[in-house]
């Protein structure tokens, strides 16, 4: 990060980078894909771009299973996880992936940090940046914070979950696990139901963009209170009738439900939620034998998903977890090599 002089700052936005939008054409479009090397969202990515990343992930998966010598792809590089919201699973998955590429790893979590002493996020980022960082892996509860941080550093910024906005590596992981099981490289012709609290789910948003970009037909299922409004322009259909959708779905993707949603009337009770939108034993038994079951974890067993369904042969849950390492290896490597946003399946640059 080149620190700017006061006069340079005056021409910049948020003091850190050039204006990200132009008033001349009233274009406020998210500039995620113009930022050289970040992985901030799935929205807007092409099928060929996702396939290129998944191909790299595949080669990492192969190497890991063959117990080849450790990759040195990121030797001498530094990956810093910057977690302002606690998520040990996600953080360990990223850090493990970085180490498997021989990268150095630094960890910053808000609980132990100077954020509690009042240091701003911008100062935190620029302080760590000055130590020499090639990629930041950012988790924050406020939508867009990884995007904002990318204005404050020249390092790659990888979104590890920002509020209810996106969790882009989770969507790649889910796509990887699903394509692996299907033995295919796209989802054309697949009917996928995403079930539950879509409104508050970053996983659901990223998966809508990933699954549809890969060719699937996606149906969002839940009570109206837990589905986002004004989504006519999303490439999905919407239903409040789980049983009808279930009959037509080749994949059923269950979202974690938070019991607190009952407190504000977004659902009446957990019991009624389960009866209407849970993948219960009865619903599981009604599935076609080749219908696949997914869940991003951590699961509320016995609530949105029954133990029988979660542990069945139709469940991809453990494969989803396993896919985390190779997929995050691919994302880290391609970000730091600055190929993540311009690679396609036909013109793969890696």
């Amino acid at each position: 990060m080149a620190f700017l002089t006061e006069s340079e700052r005056s021409l910049n936005h948020l003091d850190g980078s050039p204006l990200s939008y132009s008033f001349k054409d009233d274009s406020f479009k998210d500039d995620s894909f113009n930022r050289s090397s970040g992985f901030l969202s799935v929205e807007g990515r092409s099928r060929a771009n996702l396939q290129a990343i998944l191909n790299v992930a595949s080669s990492h998966a192969q190497r890991l299973s063959n117990e080849d010598t450790k990759s040195t792809a990121l030797a001498g590089k530094t990956v810093t996880s910057l977690f302002f919201e606690d998520s040990t699973r996600t953080r360990l998955s990223f850090e493990n992936a970085a180490r498997k590429l021989s990268s150095d790893v630094m960890t910053f979590t808000a609980g132990t940090s100077s954020v509690k002493k009042g240091e701003s996020i911008k100062d935190t980022v620029q302080t760590i940046d000055a130590m020499g960082v090639d990629a930041f892996v950012v988790r924050h509860s406020s939508p867009g914070m990884p995007h904002t941080i990318s204005h404050w550093t020249d390092a790659s910024v990888i979104n590890a979950g920002d509020g209810a906005h996106e969790h882009p590596t989770q969507a790649l992981i889910d796509s990887f696990a699903l394509l692996e099981r299907l033995g295919r490289n796209d989802l054309v012709g697949q009917n996928i139901a995403i079930v539950g609290d879509v409104l508050h789910s970053r996983v659901a948003r990223s998966n809508v963009w990933a699954f549809t970009a890969l060719g699937a037909s996606v149906t969002l299922v839940g009570p109206k209170t837990l589905l986002p409004s004004n989504i006519d322009d999303w490439p999905v259909t919407v239903s409040n009738d789980f049983d009808t959708v279930l009959k037509k779905s080749g994949v059923v993707y269950m979202l974690r439900i938070q019991k607190e949603r009952a407190a504000t009337g977004l659902m009446s009770s957990v019991g009624e939620y389960v009866s209407r939108f849970g993948l219960t034993d009865a619903r599981y038994r009604s599935l076609e034998p080749n219908t696949l079951i997914m869940h991003p974890g951590p699961m509320n067993r016995g609530i949105e998903i029954s133990p029988l369904a979660a542990d069945s042969d139709q469940s991809l849950v453990t494969r989803q977890v396993a896919a985390g390492i190779p997929v995050r290896m691919a994302v880290l490597e391609m970000c730091i090599n600055n190929t993540i946003n311009n690679s396609t399946i036909n013109g793969n640059q890696t």
Partner: protein, 428 residues
């Protein structure tokens, strides 16, 4: 201020009696002495108005000056300088300071600070003590001290019965209650307009109904109390329709809209930039169009800035933690000029005549006429400039218009006969 000096504003077109006519204006001892084509300019300091409109000084009925309590973001002095540069000769200071303006002591403090101001600073007061929404302020004593506008702005008065009682209690005083319309049970958890953009970005939404329900409620309360009511910063299509219908039914209601609501939409939040976080939020394109229509057809009486300075570090917080609000004084008239395309007479109505009347400042502002105090703005509708946050006179930098090319700019501002802005530069 204007010690025996004579000033002549020459070469412009003057807004006189709802018409724009080529004329010169001569000011003697702070008062308009002559308006016409063959005026006596002997010994006068001549101010060039060639190619510009000579308009009654603008009046902003919605300005947050942050004094006392948040003087790192703005003071009466810096805010008044920003106002003068924007063409304002009077502003109404909003009462959500720290502490809130709910008693005569704080009002005296602000009036004292306003002695050094570059424009008139009228003070408004809260409806409820400390903006707590529980107990009414002493309307009669505040009114006797010259406070005309009352509002808990920043929040709406949530308790319906309390709001009714406020309207009824103050109904025999010459005051106006102004509402920030927001049903907080509906807006809770929201950070931007609830719509296609918020759904896509996963940002909690503030539905239009949060505003509309309180507009609807307060129209009913105003009707019951049979007293005038002012609606702050209307932002939705249905709100504009509700006020239009109330006026058509003969009710004594007035309304304002901000430059950001008639210029920007929720699409701006695609940048995740907290400078676009404001309350009420930037709405959809149809809402914006309805606000413009309301300004043009008279449903909305006034343009008001809701100038809301915040220190830079607060606007670098995450979107969901950053405070609401944006600067407005130095950009409002330019945006009104370029976005509304109304011409000098109609702009004077929205920026000066109507707001002066609403704030009871119409004896001294809102009209260029012989014998009246010289509160005059010379506005060049064709001047081009680019907004540079670092060049603003406001202490804060949180303009949502950074880098925007503007058409139209205040060239000179004359406050009580003193040239406080000349050639778009503050004179003190």
């Amino acid at each position: 201020m204007s010690d025996n000096k004579t000033i002549a504003i020459c070469g412009g077109e003057v807004v006189i009696d709802n018409q724009l006519q080529a004329a010169d204006v001569v000011i003697r001892d702070g008062v308009v002495a002559e308006v016409g084509q063959n005026v006596n300019c002997d010994g006068a300091t001549v101010i060039d108005a060639t190619g510009a409109w000579v308009m009654p000084g603008f009046v902003d009925i919605h300005t947050h000056l942050r004094e006392p309590g948040r003087t790192e973001a703005e003071t009466v002095e810096t805010g008044s300088r920003a106002a003068a540069l924007g063409g304002y000769t009077a502003v109404v200071a909003m009462p959500n300071t720290e502490p809130a303006i709910d008693n005569l002591g704080i009002i005296e403090q602000i009036r004292s600070a306003a002695k050094a101001a570059l424009c008139e600073v009228a003070v408004s007061a809260c409806i409820t003590r400390g903006r707590g929404g529980k107990e009414l302020v002493n309307f009669a004593s505040l009114s006797a001290a010259g406070v005309h506008i009352y509002t808990d702005d920043g929040n709406g008065v949530q308790d319906t019965a309390l709001m009714l009682h406020a309207l009824q209690y103050a109904s025999d005083l010459d005051v106006v209650l102004a509402q920030h319309c927001e049903d907080e049970s509906l807006s809770a958890g929201g950070f931007m307009h609830e719509g296609a953009v918020s759904s896509r970005l996963g940002i909690g939404g503030i539905p239009p109904e949060a505003e509309e329900l309180m507009v609807m409620r307060d129209i009913a309360l105003s009707r019951k109390a049979q007293v005038a009511m002012h609606f702050l910063h209307l932002s939705t299509k249905r709100s504009v329709e509700l006020v239009r219908d109330a006026k058509a039914a003969g009710m004594n209601v007035t309304a304002e809209a901000t430059p950001h609501h008639f210029t920007l939409t929720d699409e701006a939040l695609n940048s995740f930039d907290p400078n676009f976080r404001v309350n009420p939020p930037l709405r959809s394109a149809p809402d914006r169009a309805a606000v413009i229509e309301g300004l043009k057809d008279g449903t909305i009486d006034a343009i008001a800035t809701d100038h809301a300075p915040h220190a830079p570090e607060l606007k670098e917080l995450p979107l969901t933690e950053a405070p609401c609000g944006m600067l407005g004084l130095e950009t409002a008239a330019s945006l009104a000029n370029s976005e509304l395309q109304l011409g000098a007479v109609e702009l004077s109505r929205l920026l000066s005549i109507n707001p002066a009347r609403i704030a009871r400042l119409h004896e001294t502002h809102g009209q260029i006429a012989v014998g009246r105090p010289a509160n005059i703005t010379v506005f060049d509708p064709n001047a081009e400039w680019t907004v540079d946050p670092m060049q603003l006179a406001s202490k804060a930098r949180n303009t949502p218009f950074a880098g925007r090319d503007m058409t139209g700019r205040t060239r000179h501002t004359i406050f009580n006969g003193e040239v406080v802005v000349a050639d778009s530069k503050a004179q003190r």
